[in-house]
């Protein structure tokens, strides 16, 4: 595998007191889609902006496309496309004018109409940025990243705050870029986004990578692929005993969040009948029961005891 992005023992301390990144190692292969997954303040933006050459690391090594940021004549910027976590383009320019400006900076660039078409903004070409929806603005940001025909695309939270349909549109653009051989590094705190898009993810918390691998392997590391969530009526006799639940066949882990019990199991069809039997015997009244596939969220909760997002 050819390496597109590599960093070693990356550290960033702001104002001599805030440790935003405390020793991150990453390796992203060419034409991989790599995701940095983590809660607010984990250090994702700081990490990508160092990789993008926009921030100086306090210490650590960064190599992008085999070159270093300080190296003369590297022309790295010609080869990267970037969206920042937050950019507000000039409201008084149209979509096409904005994109044409960005195109003018690159020596080798794509046809404007083609780029607009690829992000489905062709019929908004002459609309002022002020009149775009959130999803359209985000797609314009991606278009500005794509217009220079980059080899690597950096996307910092490309779909935060977008509705499901807009998120899917962004995902499609990213996938298309990747199938054409492009490398993608994105950050997100949506686990489903990471699961769907990324070949590899690194879960970041408090400036450190706490787990890495393919989404499938990470979920697999939980030991069970299913989560059974249930709650019981409050009038039941006493609390449910954790130890007894772990005794349920194929149960791996048991956790409680408020009224909700979460049981990670290897095989739902074995565990659920046993669980129901246990509740019936002890006269607990079941008020809800759902099962779902385990997700990266569960991996994160399992590792930290916290959720990725507060909502």
């Amino acid at each position: 595998m050819t390496i597109a992005i590599r960093c070693q023992d990356l550290r960033k301390r702001y104002d001599n007191k805030v440790d935003a990144v405390s020793g991150i190692d990453l390796e992203v292969g060419v034409s991989q889609c790599f995701g940095l997954l983590g809660p607010n303040g984990a250090g994702k933006t700081t990490t990508v902006e160092i990789l993008e050459g926009l921030l100086e690391p306090t210490s650590g090594e960064v190599e992008v496309l085999g070159r270093r940021w300080r190296e003369p004549g590297a022309h790295l910027r010609e080869r990267l496309g970037i969206t920042l976590q937050e950019t507000r383009f000039s409201e008084k320019l149209t979509v096409r004018e904005t994109l044409r400006l960005f195109k003018s900076f690159y020596r080798k660039s794509q046809d404007l109409t083609q780029v607009l078409d690829s992000v489905s903004l062709i019929d908004k070409a002459t609309t002022l940025v002020a009149k775009l929806s959130g999803g359209q603005k985000q797609r314009l940001a991606v278009a500005c990243a794509l217009v220079g025909s980059p080899e690597i695309l950096f996307l910092d939270e490309p779909t935060t705050g977008l509705d499901p349909q807009s998120r899917r549109q962004v995902w499609d653009i990213v996938r298309r870029f990747q199938t054409q051989g492009g490398t993608v590094l994105l950050t997100t705190h949506y686990m489903d986004e990471a699961e769907r898009l990324c070949d590899q993810v690194a879960i970041v918390d408090h400036g450190k990578v706490i787990a890495r691998g393919s989404p499938r392997a990470l979920i697999h590391s939980l030991g069970g692929d299913h989560v059974v969530e249930f709650s019981v009526a409050a009038n039941a006799a006493g609390e449910l005993d954790q130890a007894r639940m772990l005794a349920i066949p194929s149960a791996i882990q048991c956790r409680r969040e408020g009224e909700l019990h979460q049981l990670t199991v290897r095989e739902a069809h074995v565990a659920i009948p046993a669980l129901l039997e246990l509740l019936r015997r002890d006269h607990y009244e079941l008020s809800s029961l759902t099962t779902r596939h385990a997700s990266l969220e569960d991996v994160f909760v399992n590792l930290t005891g916290r959720h990725l997002r507060d909502d």
């Binding site: 910027r77 920042l84 003018s104």
Partner: protein, 347 residues
């Protein structure tokens, strides 16, 4: 090596943004025209006013009133003592005249600190003395001096051009950059292969283009509406304007170089511009301030710009005669630009 395509695009989008910003267009182009027409009409040169005087009612007073009125120089009215005092306090009259019995003597009451008081005293006195038989010992004759170049409007328009170049430069550059920074647009731009120099060049080039329009509209307006004459070559006037635009643009760049918030940039900008609005002779001559403050006032960039523009436009002073103010102006520009570039933070 300049990337001309990028530079062209950067300038083009600045023009585009401006053209879609009606308020900016109003303040930059329409407002100075309204202001200069308003002030030009209010302070247009006219025949001197009559002097207004009150004559306190007494025997013989009506005859004096009639004599004063007949002169054509004095508007006199007959009033009681209390009425007359009130009229003086309110500025309705500038002088109170009392007949002091006996040998046809008069007493003048006026406030010597009020220019109109002194003027009225002189005019009334002259009428009364002539009526009493005084004759002039030396013959005199009045010649009216009101040619283009010496009127208030001629003083005002170069001042407005200077003021416009200052606020346009400082706001146009400082505010724009601060806004781009707050919106993270600067960071996004610097993440492309765009050369920082091209960006700064585009900002300054846009200022120059606006300078042509701003200076041009005011000069054309002055010439058409008030028959103003431009005595120096147009190229010289535009070059002075260009230097002013670049200097104040650089000062705007300096103010925004490290900006984190728009409000702090606006505050700093006002602190810098306010004293110049007052002291640099936009609406009235800066020479009126005490002599001790003159060196300081002359060192302000707007004073230097206004003085140069006035000398070139109204007196046709050539380049060489403007060396001092132009060097002061350029000094401010060069130092601001150098410090701004050194301190500039893109992210």
């Amino acid at each position: 090596m300049i990337n001309w395509k990028a530079l062209g695009q950067l300038i083009y989008v600045r023009m585009r943004e401006y053209s879609r910003e009606p308020e900016v267009l109003f303040w930059a182009f329409i407002f100075p025209l309204l202001l200069s027409s308003g002030l030009g009409i209010a302070f247009r040169d006219r025949a001197p006013d009559k002097a207004y005087a009150a004559v306190i009612r007494s025997d013989g007073a009506p005859a004096v009133v009639a004599a004063l009125r007949a002169s054509g120089f004095v508007q006199a009215e007959l009033l009681d003592e209390t009425e007359a005092r009130r009229a003086l306090r309110r500025g309705k009259v500038s002088l109170i005249l009392r007949l002091t019995g006996g040998a046809g003597g008069y007493e003048y009451q006026f406030d010597p600190l009020r220019p109109d008081g002194k003027l009225a005293r002189t005019m009334v006195d002259q009428v009364l003395q002539q009526a009493a038989g005084r004759t002039d010992k030396v013959p005199t004759r009045d010649a009216i001096f009101s040619e283009p170049g010496a009127r208030y409007i001629d003083f005002l328009i170069p001042g407005l051009i200077g003021m416009n170049l200052m606020s346009g430069g400082m706001w146009g550059v400082g505010f724009t950059i601060a806004e781009m920074k707050v919106k993270k647009l600067l960071k996004r731009l610097i993440a492309t292969p765009m050369r920082p120099t091209d960006f700064l060049l585009s900002i300054m080039a846009s200022r120059l283009i606006f300078m042509f329009i701003e200076v041009g509209t005011l000069l054309i307006f002055g010439a058409l509406a008030f028959g103003m004459k431009i005595r120096a070559p147009l190229l010289e006037v535009l070059a002075i304007g260009g230097l002013g635009a670049l200097t104040f643009g650089s000062m705007g760049l300096l103010v925004a170089a490290r900006a984190e918030r728009i409000e702090s940039v606006m505050g700093r900008m006002n602190v810098i511009m306010m004293p110049m609005f007052v002291f640099s002779g936009v609406f009235f001559s800066a020479e009126r301030f005490p002599a001790a403050t003159q060196p300081l006032i002359k060192a302000l960039p707007l004073t230097a710009l206004n003085d140069s523009l006035r000398a070139a436009i109204n007196e046709g002073t050539p380049w060489a005669g403007l060396a001092v103010p132009l060097l002061i102006l350029a000094g401010w520009g060069i130092i601001s630009f150098a410090v701004a570039v050194k301190r500039f933070r893109w992210v």
